[in-house]
């Protein structure tokens, strides 16, 4: 892993609680990094520290190998969770203002905005006032403004809230496209299915601590419960008899003559041996390892952390 964005041992103390307790994350270049955690875990605080809005009490942020400064902020596109626009301003005028604040020239901003407005098919909104837009519509505008100046690092805090499924998909595809074009993306979300779909790496933060970290496949593998799902034709009892001991069986309803069995290993048995044994008694239709969804991992990790605490 290269060190595109590194947060090293970040500590942030607010007057009455410790928001971040020694949190480190490592975001590789060109990846989509999921920042997960329950409400109030400290995700937004961490993001604010990365974007230089607040300073950490301890620790440092390294951006492309150097300590991040205000100048680097230009290379960040940040879409905050709580995002608003001036209600009385016109959409186009406001978008132009925001991208100019990011450092783009007026002409450049105008050209690119026109392009994106066309792409999202919202040209007709240009002269509307923001208060006339729905929440989802305003989000679209904000998304455009965030990515417009081609930042190297994009940080989205809950990017999908407020979008209908069609627009969620649109934004998802845009995020993937931005990654393919070389941007590195950090996003926080509660929607675990989108994490599975998009993320390459994740960090799970709970109560100001980083409790889970790494490549998403590795994380999922780490949490795999040594459970296998078997579909077959034949007698379930025969399988149970063959694989004696060390396995818990859960029988699922048979459908169209296809038996369905969940096998939970109590002790390590080589998969090859299991298959050989089963193969000798029934016709195997499918046999696969159960990989836990991010939802399960999230819940298990957070609950495990609560118990420790």
């Amino acid at each position: 892993m290269n060190n595109f964005l590194l947060a090293n041992n970040i500590v942030k103390q607010f007057s009455n609680h410790l928001a971040l307790n020694n949190v480190s994350i490592n975001v590789p270049e060109g990846s989509i990094f999921g920042l997960l955690g329950p409400n109030g875990a400290g995700k937004t605080t961490l993001i604010r520290i990365i974007t230089q809005i607040t300073a950490p009490d301890q620790g440092e942020i390294l951006f492309r190998g150097k300590k991040m400064t205000m100048e680097d902020v230009y290379h960040i596109g940040y879409l905050p969770e709580e995002r608003g626009l001036y209600k009385k301003m016109k959409v186009g005028e406001q978008a132009l203002y925001l991208v100019q604040l990011k450092g783009m020239s007026r002409a450049d901003g105008l050209k690119k905005l026109k392009y994106w407005f066309e792409k999202f098919e919202i040209q007709s909104w240009w002269d509307k006032k923001v208060e006339e837009l729905s929440k989802g519509m305003a989000q679209k505008v904000q998304f455009i403004v965030t990515v417009l100046h081609d930042p190297k690092l994009l940080i989205f805090d809950e990017p999908f809230t407020g979008f209908d499924p069609i627009n969620t998909n649109l934004v998802k595809n845009e995020i993937l496209r931005l990654r393919d074009n070389g941007a590195t993306i950090v996003f926080s979300t509660h929607i675990m299915s989108s994490v599975e779909e998009l993320c390459d790496h994740i960090a799970l933060i709970d109560k100001g601590k980083n409790i889970l970290n790494g490549n998403i496949d590795e994380v999922r593998a780490r949490f795999k419960p040594d459970t296998y799902e078997l579909k077959f034709r034949g007698n379930a009892q025969d399988i149970k008899d063959t694989l004696d001991g060390g396995i818990e069986f859960i029988e699922e309803p048979t459908r169209g003559g296809v038996g369905h069995l969940i096998l939970k290993q109590q002790r390590k048995i080589p998969v090859r041996d299991m298959i050989t044994a089963i193969n000798s008694t029934v016709d195997i239709i499918s046999f696969e390892e159960v990989i836990p969804g991010m939802n399960d991992i999230f819940i298990r990790a957070v609950e495990g952390n609560e118990k420790k605490a």
Partner: protein
């Protein structure tokens, strides 16, 4: 730096483009001028109508005592009562009925009946004439010779003449100085309050609509705050400059317009000459009563040092505004909604109001110790000093007051910056003074 100017630009243009701003900026001086000229015009217009007043005199001695004027005529009716005249009042064409009862010498009361509100001019004319007439009768009854009365009649006029260091004498006008002091002090109060509150509302809008969240990653909080404060200050200055320009414009425009009209009437001289005079603003020849009126006004104002007052107004407006706007900004950043502002607004409002009250006092006695002290204290000095300036404040007081104001607004901006930085990203928390104090001490 570029970003601050962007913010200033946005704050300025969105406000200046608002309909309410345009209307208020243009309408206020027009309304003021309209009120002044309109009432004057109406008064002269009404006087042009001939008014015949029926007099029912029960004493039978006043006939001829009330002089007729060009427009006010009196017709004495005998052997009739008020009620009878009243009945045919509409047809008779009388303007009013003056009833002088028999016991007028004892009661000193006469009645003026009319179906409309009689003008002050008519009332005054009658009162003056009857005053003199009945006083004379009473004096006669007391055996005082009339010529003694004429000799002892006195009418004191105060001509205030102010001399300057160069020995030049200017005839000043106490009323004008009073008026200018009052107007500029009050305007200062209004401006500070109005634009300070605009800063607060702007900050709250950004906070409650979560606009800060979007902007804060591109701009430092301090830049955001100062951009807003400066942008709104420019709005205030724009309004002020337009008001001043329009007021003078209307004044001279009206002068020119009316002078031309009266000059035409008098058939005196060519237009070029009038233009000359209008531009110079100096009387050279008689071109009617308007000329006289304008010259009187202009003459009274000539004793007032306008450039100095304008400069001071600009300085105290900027200083006072920066001081209060930063306080208002920190309040706006600390609260979540309007109702929470109350507790923090109070300590800001009180000094402004104290300033207003002391200013009213200072107009009467501009060099009283209370006026001097409050014109030095930065929280009240912009308002109080403005009321004192037309009376020529000693230079050391001006300098000290300005110095203290500058120091204080720099301090206020620094403090507001600290509170603002923490406040704008803090939600759902009812903030106390202790909390604010803590924010002030945060390092970053």
């Amino acid at each position: 730096m570029n970003k601050i100017s962007l913010i200033i630009q946005r704050e300025y243009t969105t406000r200046v483009k608002k309909k309410s701003f345009i209307i208020m900026t243009i309408l206020t001086p027009v309304l003021m001028a309209g009120l002044l000229f309109g009432s004057g015009y109406l008064a002269t217009k009404e006087d042009n109508q001939t008014k015949v007043i029926a007099v029912i005199d029960k004493t039978n001695i006043t006939e001829g005592a009330i002089s007729q004027t060009e427009y006010i005529k009196f017709k004495y009716l005998t052997e009739t009562e008020v009620e009878t005249v009243k009945k045919d009042f509409e047809k008779s064409g009388y303007y009013a009925i003056l009833y002088i009862p028999e016991n007028v010498l004892i009661s000193s009361k006469v009645q003026l009946y009319s179906n409309q509100q009689t003008t002050v001019g008519v009332n005054e004319h009658i009162v003056k004439a009857l005053d003199v007439f009945f006083t004379n009768i009473k004096l006669k009854n007391e055996n005082v010779p009339l010529d003694i009365m004429k000799r002892i009649a006195t009418n004191i006029n105060v001509n205030t003449i102010q001399w300057t260091k160069t020995g030049e004498e200017k005839s000043g006008s106490a009323e004008i100085v009073l008026m200018i002091g009052y107007v500029s002090g009050f305007l200062m109060y209004m401006f500070i309050f109005m634009f300070g509150a605009q800063v607060m509302r702007g900050v709250m809008e950004e906070k409650t609509n979560r606009i800060v969240e979007v902007i804060i990653s591109s701009v430092k909080p301090f830049q955001m705050m100062m951009g807003k404060v400066v942008g709104i200050a420019l709005v205030g200055l724009t309004q002020f400059v337009i008001w001043i320009a329009l007021t003078f414009g209307i004044f001279y425009g009206a002068k020119f317009f009316l002078l031309e009209k009266s000059a035409d009437k008098a058939n005196t001289t060519v237009a070029a000459n009038i233009m000359d005079k209008a531009n110079a603003g100096m009387p050279q020849m008689d071109a009617g009563q308007y000329q006289e009126m304008f010259d009187q006004i202009a003459g009274k104002f000539s004793a007032v040092n306008f450039p100095k007052i304008l400069c001071c107004f600009l300085f105290y407006f900027l200083g006072g505004y920066l001081l209060y706007a930063s306080l208002f900004a920190s309040v706006g950043s600390a609260v979540d909604n309007d109702t929470d502002t109350q507790q923090f607004m109070l300590p800001i409002t009180i000094p402004i109001l104290v300033g207003l009250f002391v200013m009213m006092n200072a107009m009467q006695s501009p060099n009283s110790s209370i006026a001097v002290i409050f014109s030095l204290i930065p929280l009240t000095s912009p308002i109080v000093m403005m009321a004192r300036i037309p009376y020529d404040v000693p230079n050391w007081q001006l300098a000290l007051s300005a110095f203290l104001l500058i120091i204080t607004f720099i301090g206020a901006i620094w403090m507001a910056g600290k509170i603002y930085r923490t406040g704008i990203l803090m939600y759902g928390k009812k903030v106390s003074y202790a909390e604010l104090w803590k924010w002030l001490k945060y390092k970053n």
